[in-house]
């Protein structure tokens, strides 16, 4: 692989900013434009930039495939688990009202948990797809 100092330095600058922006989009999603899907894709793009610049092997060391696969499952569990919390608190499935002290804060925390779950799953699945394709191209 052709090595470029400029690319590597710029990528090292860019990746933290991309991650920060991804986190901003997920936490700000309910107030402004954005949301969990977009945030997940932005987070995954940080890993994809990493993969393009440093090579798939290096990325697999930073984010092993097994971990990404596990995270993809954990995100879904977080979403579904939020629904189970409302069941445990005596409300209907996915009714966020009882999660907080008031219905408003309950809806706030409920939707935040769900969004974080979606974000984790989308981000890890996107990164996983990119890594698997990279492997396929090489073989």
């Amino acid at each position: 692989m052709h090595d470029s100092l400029i690319l590597r330095v710029v990528a090292k600058f860019l990746i933290p900013v991309i991650v920060l922006f991804g986190l901003y989009v997920v936490f700000h999603g309910k107030l402004g434009p954005g949301g969990a899907f977009q945030a997940g894709v932005i987070l995954a793009s940080a890993l994809i930039v990493h993969m393009l610049v440093f090579g798939p092997d290096e990325t697999r060391r930073v984010a092993p495939v097994a971990v990404l696969r596990g995270l993809a499952a954990v995100g879904v569990l977080l979403y579904g688990g939020t629904g189970l919390i409302s069941l445990a608190l005596g409300a209907n499935y996915l009714d966020y009202n009882p999660i907080g002290s008031t219905p408003v804060s309950g809806q706030y925390f409920g939707i935040l948990l769900v969004e974080i779950g979606v974000c984790i799953t989308v981000a890890s699945t996107m990164a996983l797809l990119a890594l698997l394709f990279a492997e396929r191209v090489r073989t």
Binding site: V76, L77, G80, N92, Y93, L94, D95
Partner: protein
């Protein structure tokens, strides 16, 4: 807690899927998946009992009240569909340990069980929900997991058949979504009960007609109604045996349920069969499907493929029943959905036993198996008799009702078609029976019977074929209740 069972029946398999991905090995995922399928069966039985008492159950998801939020609404029709899906899954999953253990890469087994759980969640979700858009979401969940499950087959052709199914299935899902979108544009609601109330006012608009056309074509692709069945034979033939048994017994039945729900509950019988000529169209396609698919089945060299074509013919019977537009016809369609799941499940599982021992399901490989594997072949014969419609089996019950429904409206042609198609079923089942019991194999050594882990689940379904063929109180009771509710709900 019991009020929540209506949603838990979908949530339990849905959340089991990501848990399975986190597990390692093959035994732990299998044990969890089996436990889930049995608990789902218990819930389904409880819900059926509940529906028979109360008639209808409603659940507001997320606490948002009905026409705005997503409502889960259960009546006799979908409780019956849930029961059949849960029953088949509860039998196929124990069977999958040995069957898929030999046919699927050990590394991929946790993923396979996860996909099976997603399929279960999708199918149960379709039948649980009272929201038209929610049907689409679950349709996609079940379809996507089916594509991956089919692609797990050892034969490389499994990949192309899964891809073909993916293309056809996506077209079907898109058509369905366009139809739902048009209905939403027309009425501003997605709740099924609400749609049923608002549609009559706009029934004669072109938008309503277009929506119905898109919906029916989309659902019929999933249903594999002739001539939209092209994805089915390869998909069933090259998938792993346990997957074929699960998918063949459930997926097309749930699609038939969706068709019934849209034609009867949402559009209503006056629109579907009065305003639109759907009765005639579906009847013609059903009859052609019954005859052509049965004729093609006779000449198939592979027993799995033979049964796949027979499934297309059976879809024809179901469609014929629902296209008659009478209580009796609808009862026959619902009965045949249930009964066909039992017989095809038993038959495909028996073939899975053969594949486990012999490694192939080609008809010429079956020579002498009647002597080597008497129990497996006996289960196959029970399933086959049921498929033909011999008295004391479930196949007889549903065909009897179908003939009664046709007779009620004086459709002698239909009765002739049903009888001819059944006679063709005699031919293709007899072909296998003759080869297995009356011919000696020259090339193959003697094989032994398969272990109980495979035989017991297969026989459970085979015995269910006899049980529900003799004691019909449960099945006919629910089917009749469902048919009356569906026709009565027409505006």
């Amino acid at each position: 807690m019991s009020v929540h069972l209506q949603v838990l029946i979908v949530v339990i398999p849905l959340l089991a899927a990501p848990l399975l991905v986190l597990l390692r090995g093959a035994t732990a995922p299998w044990a969890l998946a089996t436990a889930v399928s049995w608990s789902v069966l218990a819930i389904a039985l409880w819900l059926v009992a509940e529906v028979q008492v109360h008639g209808q159950l409603s659940y507001a998801l997320g606490g948002w009240a009905a026409p705005w939020g997503i409502e889960y609404r259960l009546d006799a029709a979908n409780a019956m569909v849930q029961l059949l899906v849960a029953m088949v899954a509860a039998v196929v999953l124990p069977y999958a340990r040995l069957s898929a253990g030999r046919e699927v890469d050990p590394e991929q087994q946790p993923g396979m069980y996860a996909a099976m759980m997603l399929l279960l969640a999708g199918l149960l979700g379709i039948s649980a929900t009272g929201d038209a858009f929610n049907v689409f979401v679950f349709l996609e969940i079940s379809s996507l997991s089916t594509y991956t499950l089919i692609a797990l087959g050892r034969d490389r052709r499994a990949l192309t058949s899964a891809f073909r199914y993916l293309i056809m299935g996506t077209i079907g899902a898109t058509f369905f979504l366009i139809g739902v979108g048009l209905l939403y544009a027309l009425t501003g609601t997605l709740n099924m009960a609400d749609l049923a109330e608002r549609l009559p006012a706009v029934a004669s608009t072109r938008t309503a007609h277009t929506a119905a056309a898109f919906l029916v074509v989309g659902i019929c692709l999933k249903l594999a109604l002739f001539p939209l069945h092209l994805w089915l034979p390869n998909a069933y033939t090259y998938a792993p045996s346990a997957v074929t048994a699960l998918v063949a017994a459930t997926a097309t039945k749930v699609a038939a349920y969706v068709l019934i729900r849209f034609l009867y509950t949402i559009f209503g019988i006056h629109f579907s069969f009065g305003e639109l000529p759907l009765s005639q169209i579906l009847m013609v396609l059903a009859v052609i499907g019954m005859l052509v698919a049965s004729a093609v089945a006779i000449r198939q060299p592979d027993a799995k493929r033979l049964l796949a074509y027979s499934s297309i013919a059976q879809v024809g019977y179901i469609t014929l029943g629902l296209a008659l537009g009478s209580v009796l016809g609808l009862t026959a369609a619902l009965l045949h959905m249930f009964n066909h799941a039992l017989m095809k499940g038993a038959l495909f599982m028996a073939l899975g036993c053969i594949a486990w021992r012999v490694g192939s399901t080609r008809v010429d490989q079956l020579k002498g198996l009647g002597r080597d594997m008497p129990w497996t072949m006996a289960a196959f014969v029970v399933g086959g008799l049921s498929l033909i419609g011999v008295p004391l089996t479930v196949g007889f019950i549903s065909k009897w009702y179908l003939i009664l429904a046709a007779l009620e409206q004086g459709w002698w042609v239909l009765i002739a078609a049903i009888v001819i198609s059944s006679l063709m079923a005699v031919v293709y089942i007899w072909r296998i029976v003759e080869i297995a019991w009356f011919q000696q194999s020259e090339s193959r050594d003697h094989t032994r019977e398969v272990p109980l882990g495979l035989l017991l689940p297969t026989w459970l379904l085979a015995l269910a074929n006899l049980w529900f063929g003799i004691d019909t109180r449960l099945t006919i009771g629910i089917a009749d209740q469902a048919a009356r509710a569906l026709i009565g709900s027409a505006p």
